[in-house]
Symmetry: C2
Subunit: 682 residues, 2 copies
Amino acid sequence: MSLESMLSLLSLESPSPEGSIELKTLVFKPKTPKSQVPVPVIVVAQSTTATAAPVIAKYAGVKEPRLANDELTTTFFGTPAKEFSLASLSNDHKDGKIKILIDSSIKDDSETTYILANSVAKLALTGSQLSGFLSVYSPVVVDFIAEASATPAAAPTKSAAPAAAASTNTAKLEDAKLIGVTVDKEADFSNWYSQILTKGEMLDYYDVSGCYILRPASYSIWEKITEWFDKRIKQDGVTNAYFPMFVSSKVLEKEKDHIEGFAPEVAWVTRAGSSELEEPIAIRPTSETVMYPYYAKWIRSHRDLPLKLNQWNSVVRWEFKHPQPFLRTREFLWQEGHTAHLTEAEADEQVKTILDLYAGVYEELLAVPVVKGKKTENEKFAGGLYTTTCESYIPTTGRGIQGATSHHLGQNFSKMFNISVENPLGSDHPKIFANQTSWGLSTRVIGVMVMVHSDNKGLVLPPRVAQHQVVIIPVGITNKTTKEVEDNLYSTCTALQAKLKAADVRVITDFRSNYSPGWRFSDAELKGIPVRLEVGPKDLATDSVLAVRRDNGAKTSISISEIETKIPELLEDIQSSLFKAAKEKFDTHRVIVDEWKDFVPTLNKKNLILAPYCDVPECEDDIKDSSSKQDNGEDMDVDEKAPSMGAKSLCIPYDQPPMKAGQKCIKCDRPAVHYTMFGRSY
Amino acid sequence: MSLESMLSLLSLESPSPEGSIELKTLVFKPKTPKSQVPVPVIVVAQSTTATAAPVIAKYAGVKEPRLANDELTTTFFGTPAKEFSLASLSNDHKDGKIKILIDSSIKDDSETTYILANSVAKLALTGSQLSGFLSVYSPVVVDFIAEASATPAAAPTKSAAPAAAASTNTAKLEDAKLIGVTVDKEADFSNWYSQILTKGEMLDYYDVSGCYILRPASYSIWEKITEWFDKRIKQDGVTNAYFPMFVSSKVLEKEKDHIEGFAPEVAWVTRAGSSELEEPIAIRPTSETVMYPYYAKWIRSHRDLPLKLNQWNSVVRWEFKHPQPFLRTREFLWQEGHTAHLTEAEADEQVKTILDLYAGVYEELLAVPVVKGKKTENEKFAGGLYTTTCESYIPTTGRGIQGATSHHLGQNFSKMFNISVENPLGSDHPKIFANQTSWGLSTRVIGVMVMVHSDNKGLVLPPRVAQHQVVIIPVGITNKTTKEVEDNLYSTCTALQAKLKAADVRVITDFRSNYSPGWRFSDAELKGIPVRLEVGPKDLATDSVLAVRRDNGAKTSISISEIETKIPELLEDIQSSLFKAAKEKFDTHRVIVDEWKDFVPTLNKKNLILAPYCDVPECEDDIKDSSSKQDNGEDMDVDEKAPSMGAKSLCIPYDQPPMKAGQKCIKCDRPAVHYTMFGRSY
């Protein structure tokens, strides 16, 4: 075929013939025992037709099909997932090596022109032509459209919103049980977490999977954190700036180790309006490579050091794992600080200063205890020298959770980006590459706080970060209450609010007379307001009010004349009680284990473990493998089945237990170097 | 050809053969008199080879070639720009209907396999095959690589960074002239603006076109603005939240009028890691359609109204027009407020409250005068009821600039998204759709401020927003100065700094002894620091310091004992002087014109015009056409040639001049309804 004829042939197909319909060809990987070769399932349907995983599972006779990754498509079809097309099929795939599901609307349609496209080619053909071509693979015909409408639309799926309180109507809301949390924290932690976040109005689920709406109740916590942290880094000489969210692929990929860690999760913009971009542009997953070319430009002399910039922004990491509000989201808010220093020691100091501030955010604001330490080589930030971390603990699941990390990048990035200055000793000395740090704290902190303190009644918020610290609710109004007493009650509540506001207490009133006081109590508990003030006619008679603590339900009568001092004291007491309770739990579940035989049993009791460890990366891999549930031939999903998960190293705590002389590593025969904290983790 | 053979043929080409090289085929539209049909220029080169517009212009013999839009490619080749390929060429294009430039490296290369791809097809062929195919179009052979290296790398281009001060070395920096602005504000406003922003360290150019880095000097101004505005909206009952940056196309496109305005500028994410997304996902250009589905869910009763949320975020509008720092950028920071109310009147009130705050940001913080008013029907927010605006004025260009807008959305969006409540009068009354408002203020304000106040010495910053309000510079140190005097001088400077800090003045010292005091004065002027304090041995003798104002250069001696009161007074005086000077300019260049014959001459004297106007949209179009430069057959670029631009309506000012009885519209015979402000604008 001549070039010209081929060109004209192709140009015939472009643009698509009028009335033609686009098809999708998706490759799914079913859950398969490790010992077996998976049988990919190829789904051919109109691009707008829903092809839900359960339907595919049913008709292909497989378990939990998921969209195949490049690894699978490359192995089976010699092409990355996005370039897969039916043209990739060959004789090798006959005889049950793959399964094909084809939508019944296409199967025998000889009228319509269908378009099959992947990222490199596009073909037009009829449904009958297509099924003729596919017949050698014995496709299964599925009526996807009927299947989709048969599935109840409200059925909750993993990535969609759980059935929300909002769908109950106002009348039903009179029953406090209905507005509250309907599952037990211990029995169904995952649903409990969803429910308290949505019913507590912290967050709402969103129609783009892995993205969530931060409602005022959670965003205001983030504001408290940013205010506290921002003030302190400014005192440390850091200034804020803003770098673009877009990164060219050239710049993004400059530091190889670094990008390797992020590449699978980078979101790419390829189109603007109706124009394809000449080069795809990435959305920052973090800003090292965004910022450092400019550090190289701005840092001309050792007098320009240290350069300490921070930005408050959002970053995107398109995780394909099961998303979880606050903990694993595709877009999240954070701060990222990036500093450059003349000496390694100054950078050490910076890393430590920030780590202490991170611990402060957790312990002083969120009342969540943390263990500070250093990450092992396996777990450090790719491309950096070492990583320090605050690690926290979720008692209900017994899992550790990384709180925030502060990295010493050494000179790796500065050499890559040429961030260098003349030696202060003179130009006959070698030039000096900057020592850099980077550090980030994200909205993840809010998720940790919720998981640690909240209970079956709803959120429990530490007073220092709660949007509303006190709610005033009038009580004891009956049919017999006189108008005068009632008016007096309301005006007292309003006066109390003003008094407390003047004392810098964040206080609201709940005068919603269409709801009973009991309903309003439950609502305030659901939302985690630290103190409820009940004001009734009897209280007024003694010039006092009843304060009820959210954390432990304790009630105290407070004289109105002392309200401006007693309430702030009470709030501080709640703050420290929450911290104390959480710390006690963490302390009793951080167990020193010196012998391997005790490791897994201790882990299974929802503990984190401090174990003597040799600091050899391979040994850490071994610990992880050996502590995961015995391989039962299933390709386990660690997110949903936490107990099967192996323990990984969380950090080498700065606060080390005394090591016995001659102590060996818990797993191997090498001498132990550090007590290292291991655990199942998020 | 059978389906199977075609599929296998295509699969051969995919992935590309090893060692093959990708080509690009770009279509350019040259500047062409309106009366003539343009001759598109097609450039064929390796995808990595730079093919600069000046080189294309030179070899194709055309003026200012620009990448062709869909309109041109559809007219000429029947295909949108992104689907154009050489396969789109036909006999119709012979005989000089198009011009083709082909890179010399490809021309006669029969060894290498080249890949020609567009969004629908991909072909592999040799250079000789390709040039054989193209020969009927008489292509011009260009050595693009040699041309690229012949062009000096430092030559500033419109979208790239201007030659920066940073490239001069430290020795040369001793000459104050070199660090300063090298072009005149009046003579070359565009380059002046670039220079003061980059040399003043407000901003740096970035390697993704249309995106800029906000350095601490500008970001700190944004922080001052956010702090001021955030506090005031919170007092007004607004709370902050955060909605995801991603929008599904289904949701984005729900309100038709609205999306029509934004669609051409929406950036689309189509890929994550190496996986194509099933559906492209948009990055928010604004959040009406992101937020309102949730307003519908959250607003259950009239007691939930008003709902007032705001978010501080960044949005993306992928403009294809000439980008300009702060004024027209592809990503920008802003706040967007969205409220829902029971009545239209409450929404009216909200719109006005916010507009007043916007005017406050300009006038009280940035010392930039504005005119408040309502947009005409032509200029209002698409999908809204009416739009209010603060309009400002750039004296140097005589152009108006939209400052910030506050929209009354009426019930249009609430009907679309079903944001409704039961009628408080009872369920037998019709349900009520919420009345909504939305309003935004962006980092554009910083650009306006810079354009209005700054001068040929650099930035001039209003003290209330300046990152550093005062710089203290020791002077008068010579070889003869004793160590004791010198030490005393430095310690006095440090003590002064502490005193001023205690008085809440943002003050720095400049002790860089490797630079002369004169150089440091220039540097402080370049950066726009409002007050420079010079402290020399002679001043110390009289216990005083010399204060030099950045805005007018005036010098005052201030007694050290009064420094904590005199400096804040001086700063406030500078703030009001800046506002007064700008207001005077704006007031004298806002001219009432009642007769059309005076309209264009007045406009050409860098004025905005207040003209009696009939409020009929078509008449506004007529005014715009009639006030643009007479058509000289050139396809004018309005960005670069402002005087050719027609005047559009900026607003109907709330502050109306008295209208004469029987006054007609300035352009037509209809009676005038309002004085309307017209002008050339950004």
